[in-house]
Amino acid sequence: MEYINISMPKDFSITPGPRNRSEGDFSGQQFFEEILDPTFAEALKENKGVTINLDGTLGYGTSFLEEVFGGLARKYTPEKVFKNLIIISNEEEYLKNDIDNYIKNANK
């Protein structure tokens, strides 16, 4: 499968922030609406997958991650997300496990 690559620091910010736009800058909502959602939709249309590289930032708040990946699963179903999304996180390996949980429990 071919992949469209997203780099968090290059394509969005080195300081990802809170969950919603109203709470502060570089929110999960902003990343989802402006970058991840359109890219994922385009990838599905073209039978491609998406990779997100989380390395190279200052760190992540849990609400940001839940909004982004839980939000993606709520819109496209957890199955589609698991099938078409690859997370790269070498600096904070535990994030992959956390994100898997956000995707699994997105609709609870």
Partner: protein, 360 residues
């Protein structure tokens, strides 16, 4: 007959009036006597201070002015200051006899001073006799700020010596951690290192204050962060405080639509003693989330901070909120007699904490 009656009523009135004036004069005399007495054997500077601030409410912080070591007395001090603030009354903080002060108490001093002065309520204080305490408070810029006019603003930054600074804001500021992490790692490891645990703690706390501290959604509370470098011990300590509802009052006010509504009922079987100290422990361990919501703990908010501590990304995490004190390092969770209206956290970044290559 009528005239006589009027006369006697008038006489009564005059008698009462005379007595009232007499009482007021006695009170005044007694106050002057008290003031004179308090000025006896005092230096001219002290005399000036007493006369200048005689209309202020004088508040004495505890001699051991440490939020972590002497929590109840410090809460008592904060409550006294707060009660004057609510009554719009000027306060004078008498620091003369303070023998020890920690950064938690300094952050409290800076925050209440800003609160008073930005609300146009007079606020002042004097120098401690103890030289170490005096230096710490002077370095904090407390006395400089006292002389300045402070306006109501969205954000306050108080930069101090030796890379120490205090900042207040109402929103979640993800860029806040950039310089903090860069400078802290240089103090501890001699070069820039990435510390994602610190960034997570800052984000979770700012978000908690933004979303849960205020009862009113349109009236956001300030959070206060103070960062203090100790190059000798290769350690940086952090103090985060807000004067919102506090963890428990916030949970207890959740509406019926919230999954946290009536959480204490759902917890009954899990608790041994049934007090808030036990609940805080469950909350930090993620068990509260599982019991109340029936879902797996997903590392959000306070449990997320505890997780950072367990991953050795920070050390010596303390939490004080409402009437609970937690020293997570010692696994000590206890009830305290005085209630703190807000949430206070202290933690450290030390040489042995996990860090990564700076790749930003």
């Amino acid at each position: 007959m009528i005239k006589n009656e009027k006369d006697s009523k008038y006489k009564e009135y005059q008698k009462r009036r005379r007595k009232k004036i007499q009482r007021s004069q006695t009170r005044k005399k007694s106050k002057i006597k008290q003031l004179r007495k308090s000025l006896e054997n005092k230096t001219s500077r002290k005399k000036h201070e007493i006369k200048k601030f005689k209309k202020y409410s004088e508040i004495h912080p505890p001699n051991n002015f440490s939020f972590l070591e002497n929590t109840e007395d410090v809460i008592n001090f904060i409550n006294k200051v707060e009660s004057n603030y609510k009554k719009n009354k000027s306060v004078f903080i008498n620091l003369e006899n303070v023998e020890f002060i920690d950064y938690g108490a300094i952050t409290v001093l800076l925050s209440v001073m800003t609160l008073f002065k930005s609300s146009n309520i007079k606020f002042n204080g004097n120098f401690p006799k103890n030289q170490n305490v005096r230096k710490k408070i002077v370095d904090s810029q407390f006395f400089n700020r006292i002389r300045e006019t402070i306006f109501k603003e969205e954000e306050y930054t108080i930069v101090r010596k030796d890379q120490i600074f205090t900042k207040a804001n109402k929103i979640v500021d993800p860029t806040l951690g950039y310089n903090i992490i860069k400078q802290s790692s240089e103090t501890i490891w001699g070069e820039k290192k990435s510390c994602p645990g610190i960034q997570r703690v800052l984000l979770e706390l700012m978000q908690n204050t933004h979303n849960h501290a205020s009862i009113y959604p349109d009236n956001q509370e300030y959070w206060w962060l103070s960062v203090n470098h100790d190059p000798e011990k290769k350690k940086v300590s952090f103090v985060f405080v807000d004067y919102g509802q506090g963890i428990f009052e916030s949970l207890e006010k959740k509406p019926e639509t919230s999954k946290w509504y009536n959480f204490s009922e759902k917890l009954k079987e899990k608790l041994k003693y049934g007090n808030r100290a036990e609940i805080l422990k469950l909350l930090l361990e993620g068990d509260l989330h599982m019991t109340v919501t029936g879902q797996n703990f997903r590392g959000k908010g306070l449990p997320g901070i505890m997780q950072v501590s367990k991953r050795n990304q920070i050390s010596n995490l303390y939490i004080i909120s409402n009437d609970v004190f937690a020293d997570t390092n010692k696994n000590m969770y206890k009830m305290i007699r005085k209630k703190f209206q807000g949430t206070f956290l202290y933690w450290e970044l030390c040489y042995n904490n996990e860090h990564k290559i700076w790749n930003i």
